[in-house]
């Protein structure tokens, strides 16, 4: 197997050209899927016999929660890639994705808290999963703040990579907190081994909106990375050509 793609990917220039025409389609497809899934979920899916209509929050809550974790996973992995291979694209990725991840975590928190009021009777409980999502959000904020407060680029790259890698450990905690600690919160709907317990009319739109949000976030991330690449490489010739050619 050839590793050239891997090394190419490390070069911002190559990445910029490769990803240039990818961002908009991804974003557009994501928007359409998400809209479809949400409309299905909010208007056509059957009512839950226990929770009534408040259950429809799930079509935002779960995709956001999943994305918040996935973004973090990606951050951690690219931190690792940076520390091991010094790949230039990795810190750009981290810088680009952290704010998006933070928004996802915030959406999960807010939707969860609002959902909590009708079902548990309170906005907040000291439940391990809730707390650990709060902590995930704080972790994102920490990374963003760290990034912003270091003006030295090399230092910022390293520092942020270190924290992202170390922060990976928070993910299994979120995942398993439900099992470790007595909790009000629900276990997983989607697992690889079993069929979901919900009826299909309920989980199919959920799946669709999750996929949609994934694509939407990917599109956003590509755009943000391209911006960051332009900033970092503004001395080089190809950026000049790129900017002048597009005349955007």
């Amino acid at each position: 197997m050839s590793w050239t793609w891997f090394h190419k990917l490390g070069s911002p220039k190559w990445f910029f050209h490769w990803s240039k025409s990818l961002a908009l389609p991804l974003f557009g497809f994501g928007c359409i899927c998400l809209l479809f899934g949400l409309v299905w979920g909010v208007a056509f899916a059957p009512e839950d016999y226990q929770q009534g209509n408040s259950f429809r929050i799930i079509y935002i809550h779960v995709p956001a929660a999943i994305l918040a974790q996935s973004c973090y996973l990606a951050l951690g992995l690219s931190g690792l890639v940076f520390l091991v291979w010094q790949m230039k694209i990795a810190p750009i990725f981290i810088k680009a994705v952290a704010p998006v991840g933070a928004v996802m975590a915030l959406m999960a928190l807010v939707s969860g808290a609002i959902w909590g009021k009708p079902t548990w009777g309170t906005w907040w409980v000291w439940d391990a999963r809730l707390t650990s999502v709060l902590v995930l959000f704080l972790l994102y904020m920490g990374i963003i703040a760290l990034q912003n407060s270091l003006n030295d680029v090399t230092l910022a790259n390293k520092a942020v990579a270190v924290i992202s890698v170390v922060g990976l450990i928070n993910l299994p905690i979120i995942k398993y907190s439900v099992e470790w600690w007595n909790t009000l919160h629900q276990g997983a709907t989607f697992t690889l081994t079993e069929k979901p317990a919900m009826p299909a009319e309920m989980w199919v739109p959920l799946l669709i909106s999750t996929i949609g949000l994934y694509c939407l976030v990917a599109g956003l991330a590509l755009w943000r990375m391209q911006t960051e690449i332009l900033i970092r490489e503004h001395r080089s010739n190809w950026v000049k050509q790129e900017v002048m050619k597009d005349g955007l």
């Binding site: 520390l83 391990a128 707390t131 650990s132 902590v135 995930l136 704080l138 972790l139 904020m141 920490g142 990374i143 703040a145 760290l146 407060s149 270091l150 030295d152 090399t154 230092l155 390293k158 520092a159 270190v162 924290i163 890698v165 170390v166 922060g167 450990i169 928070n170 905690i173 470790w180 600690w181």
Partner: protein, 220 residues
């Protein structure tokens, strides 16, 4: 500089700064004393909360002790000297963290019987508490050293570091207090202790490298 002279000097500095260590311990005692006074001094309230209070106080004391771990080295230029010494920086960091841990934990353990008594800790769980402290706190120190190393370069970012460290402290606290509580209820607690040990081993493998990277990045 050799590893031996490094660790010797570390202990020497700790000895000279013994008041700083006492400081952390005193902070610990202050927290433990504050709670009965500020919240509720009755044994009904304290007995079930004792292990939690002790663990929280420990975490706070460690945060205090660790935060400035590299500050002085940074300002007087010795951190720079460590980086360019040609020795393995990760190993140096591990040694330094170990020294800090010993300096804080040993006296803390000595005080434990007294505090357990003051907080009416149920008898059966005392030894479990001690064990959780011994295998739980190294992780706190190891993880904390990463944060401290990052603070050094930030100069004003101590907040960030605490923000970044808390997530990693939570599981340790939860496993530890759950173990103590399981022991009080007569439930099996070895599984929880094993979890603590796993966290320890994991941080032992990862933390010194991360700290070294952070230190290297921050001394320019």
């Amino acid at each position: 500089m050799t590893y031996l002279s490094f660790i010797k000097t570390e202990f020497l500095v700790l000895w000279r700064r013994k008041q700083d260590v006492f400081n952390a311990l005193l902070f610990f005692i202050i927290v433990v004393v504050l709670f009965p006074l500020g919240v509720n001094p009755s044994s009904d309230f304290l007995a079930p909360a004792a292990d939690g209070i002790i663990w929280c106080a420990t975490v706070l004391a460690i945060l205090m002790a660790i935060e400035g771990m590299f500050k002085e080295d940074y300002t007087d230029g010795s951190l720079e000297q460590l980086v360019i010494s040609g020795l393995s920086l990760s190993l140096l960091m591990l040694l330094k963290t170990t020294a800090q841990w010993l300096a804080v934990l040993l006296p803390l353990l000595l005080m434990m019987p007294l505090l357990a008594e003051m907080l009416y800790l149920p008898d059966g769980s005392f030894w479990v508490l001690i064990v959780t402290l011994v295998i739980g706190t190294p992780s706190l120190f190891l993880i904390g050293s990463i944060g401290a190393a990052l603070t050094v370069s930030l100069k004003q970012g101590a907040m960030l570091v605490m923000l970044l460290m808390l997530p990693f402290y939570l599981p340790v606290i939860i496993f530890a207090t759950s173990a103590v509580r399981a022991a009080q209820l007569g439930l099996p607690y070895l599984g929880l202790l094993a979890m603590l040990l796993a966290v320890f081993l994991l941080s032992l493998v990862i933390a010194p490298f991360m700290t070294a990277i952070a230190i290297k990045a921050s001394t320019n």
